[in-house]
């Protein structure tokens, strides 16, 4: 299943590494380092999956999550962060994040989360 995925992380290397790996799986990826730019794209288009960092300068990952959930309940949001605490992780999940991955993580962890999200999307679409 080919998915449209948005990756948002203020570190360029994160987007680059994820793009290189996930495109091999047949997904279409758009990567952003600016949360403002990502928000613009999110307003114009509905993605299947959004992978976002939490701690960013302009707009936080939690705000991105809130925006995505308001716009489309179908989109699955996966949070990634190197600054996670129990409180932040639980807040993200309560606000509707699909999964939460702490940095540093292995590519297979995000791949697994995406597979799970794809399964959930498929189940929802088949209803």
């Amino acid at each position: 299943m080919s998915l449209e995925i948005l990756i948002l992380d203020d570190e360029t290397i994160v987007g680059e590494r994820l793009k290189a790996s996930l495109e091999k799986d047949g997904h279409k990826l758009e990567t952003f380092t600016s949360s403002v730019e990502a928000l613009k794209s999110l307003k114009e288009k509905i993605f299947d999956i959004v992978v976002t960092d939490i701690r960013m300068d302009d707009v936080s990952g939690i705000e991105i999550l809130e925006h995505v959930r308001k716009k489309s309940l179908r989109t699955k949001v996966i949070m990634i962060t190197g600054y996670a605490t129990l409180e932040v992780a639980r807040e993200s999940l309560t606000k509707g994040a699909f999964d939460f991955i702490a940095k540093p993580f292995k590519i297979k962890e995000i791949r697994k989360a995406i597979e799970k999200a794809a399964e959930a999307l498929q189940t929802e679409d088949n209803r």
Partner: protein, 505 residues
């Protein structure tokens, strides 16, 4: 000069109370939020440890190492914040910090859920229902955190000096109460306890120091400090790092001397399939705790039974303190490592259990027989005991017993270590119900014999060396031949069991 540690539930006014108290007293105040920021600033990654509670991943040795690093960082940071030995710290499980140091005021806060919902709802912009859901889940997470990080129950009242219920008590009066309590002589830390605190601080600094050193980063070490002498205990598999540990500690400020020792006792447990919940493992860990030993697991798969499974060493390898150290910066996105076989005969789960107990000396899977086991453990020759569990399960009971016995002999000859079957472990080394029954029975036999001997001394002496002896010479001699070893055996068994009962064996 009090140290006040305040634990409050999430969004439970702990920081507010700490600030109020700081304003009243002028003592320095620090919160967990500031501590987390400081950790990030110093490059100490907490994310994985924090989220592991929610995601319940494998409790790996690396996670256990991150936990130790976190606790050391907290100890070090709070000790540095002490001003004239005063400090107010508020946070999650704050009351469990500085374990074993008396005269620290350890405070718990009880805050009505409605109050917390109002507080959190305002901060997070969630509805009351969602906030309640969030807080209830978070409370459960915190319980798990306390259990994993501090090995304590979150609501154990014996860990608190004072517990304040803020339902009716105002924040101002609560802080007044705290101030009065903290100023009591009971919460002034005496000189000898301050030295203990300094030793705890030095141990924390030593761990951080070693974690920041490239050659010693990631090593799972035991660190103790007494009178500024740092003793580091490493596992046998880390022998190569011993020199680096000593070298790294030589530059540690405040360290009078450093001693680097290898863990003296290790128990090697060889079995075909492990189960973390099995009684057998409980017995092994019970013995390990008594001996202060670490347990190394070897899963032995007899040759030809599971083709395709090869030596799969999942011992922890030295890990870098930060992913930045490994060469190229990856932004936290790491390449996939080799996959660990999904069916590993319960080895990973059992190792998790041992890691959580702090008794893990690693584990590996070996395909073959005794020679392969010896090859796998050749670097670690300091086992105190080798335990053979259930092995050669595919064979019949007789063949299994024979092969296990042969393996035991091979291991004994090569490792020069006592080898024991798991079934004999309890009777040989542990004290259970059967041993208690045996102790009572044998004690009664001894009591009866002594009572009889002292009640009938004359006829007995007569039988051994008097008229009766003259008449029944051979009977007396034969009687003694049987009686003396019997009494020696019973007496020896009682003494052995008593020593086992009081953990001296």
């Amino acid at each position: 000069m009090p140290i006040v540690l305040i634990t409050s539930p999430p969004h439970g006014l702990g920081s507010e109370l700490a600030r109020n108290l700081a304003e009243k007293t002028g003592w320095p105040q620090y919160s967990r939020e500031e501590l987390v920021e400081e950790a990030h600033a110093q490059g100490i990654k907490l994310s994985r440890l924090e989220t592991s509670i929610i995601k319940s991943p494998v409790i790996s040795e690396h996670l256990a190492w991150e936990k130790e690093l976190y606790l050391s960082f907290v100890t070090d940071t709070l000790c540095k914040k002490l001003e004239n030995k005063n400090l107010i710290y508020s946070g999650r499980a704050a009351h469990l910090l500085f374990p074993g140091v008396p005269h620290i005021l350890r405070v718990g806060l009880g805050v009505p859920l409605e109050m917390r919902i109002e507080n959190a709802s305002r901060q997070l912009g969630l509805s009351s229902e969602k906030t309640q859901e969030y807080l209830e889940a978070l409370d459960e997470d915190v319980k798990k955190w306390v259990h994993y990080v501090h090995r304590e129950q979150a609501n154990d009242p014996s860990n608190y000096d004072l517990f304040l219920n803020l339902e009716n008590l105002s924040l101002a009066n609560a802080s007044l109460l705290l101030q009065n309590t903290a100023e009591l002589a009971d919460f002034r830390i005496p000189e000898q306890d301050l030295k203990h605190l300094e030793d705890i601080h030095l141990a924390a600094r030593a761990r951080l120091h070693l974690a920041r050193n490239k050659e010693t980063a990631g090593l799972n070490l035991g660190i103790r400090v007494r009178d500024k002498v740092v003793t580091v205990t490493y596992m046998p598999r880390q022998t190569a790092a011993a020199t680096s540990i000593s070298k790294a500690l030589s530059s540690l400020e405040g360290c009078r001397e450093n001693l680097c020792t290898m863990a003296e006792t290790n128990i090697l447990y060889v079995q075909e399939c492990f189960d973390p919940k099995a009684d057998d493992l409980g017995q092994v860990t019970q013995l390990a705790k008594r001996w202060g030993a670490a347990v190394e697991l070897i899963r032995l798969i007899p040759k030809g039974e599971e083709a395709g499974i090869c030596l799969e060493d999942i011992r922890s390898k030295p890990l870098s303190a930060s992913h930045k150290d490994s060469g190229t910066y990856t932004g936290g996105v790491e390449d996939d490592g080799p996959d660990i076989s999904a069916n590993d005969g319960g080895l990973s789960d059992t190792l998790e259990e041992l890691v959580a107990m702090g008794r893990s000396a690693g584990g590996s899977t070996v395909t073959g027989s005794g020679r392969e086991v010896i090859h796998a453990v050749k670097e670690n020759h300091n086992y105190s005991l080798v335990i053979l569990g259930n092995l050669f399960l595919a064979k019949g009971p007789q063949a299994s017993t024979r092969l296990t016995r042969e393996l035991g002999l091979t291991l004994h000859d090569n490792l020069r270590t006592p080898v024991i079957d798991i079934k004999e472990l309890k009777s040989e080394f542990l004290f259970g119900k059967a041993q208690a029954f045996k102790l009572i029975l044998y004690s009664l036999i001894i009591l009866c014999i002594y009572t009889l001997v002292f009640s009938f001394q004359k006829p007995i002496l007569n039988f051994i060396g008097g008229d009766l002896h003259e008449k029944w010479k051979w009977v007396a001699a034969v009687g003694m031949v049987f009686f003396v070893p019997f009494i020696a055996y019973v007496y020896g068994a009682v003494s052995g069991l008593l020593l086992k009962l009081i953990d001296i064996d």
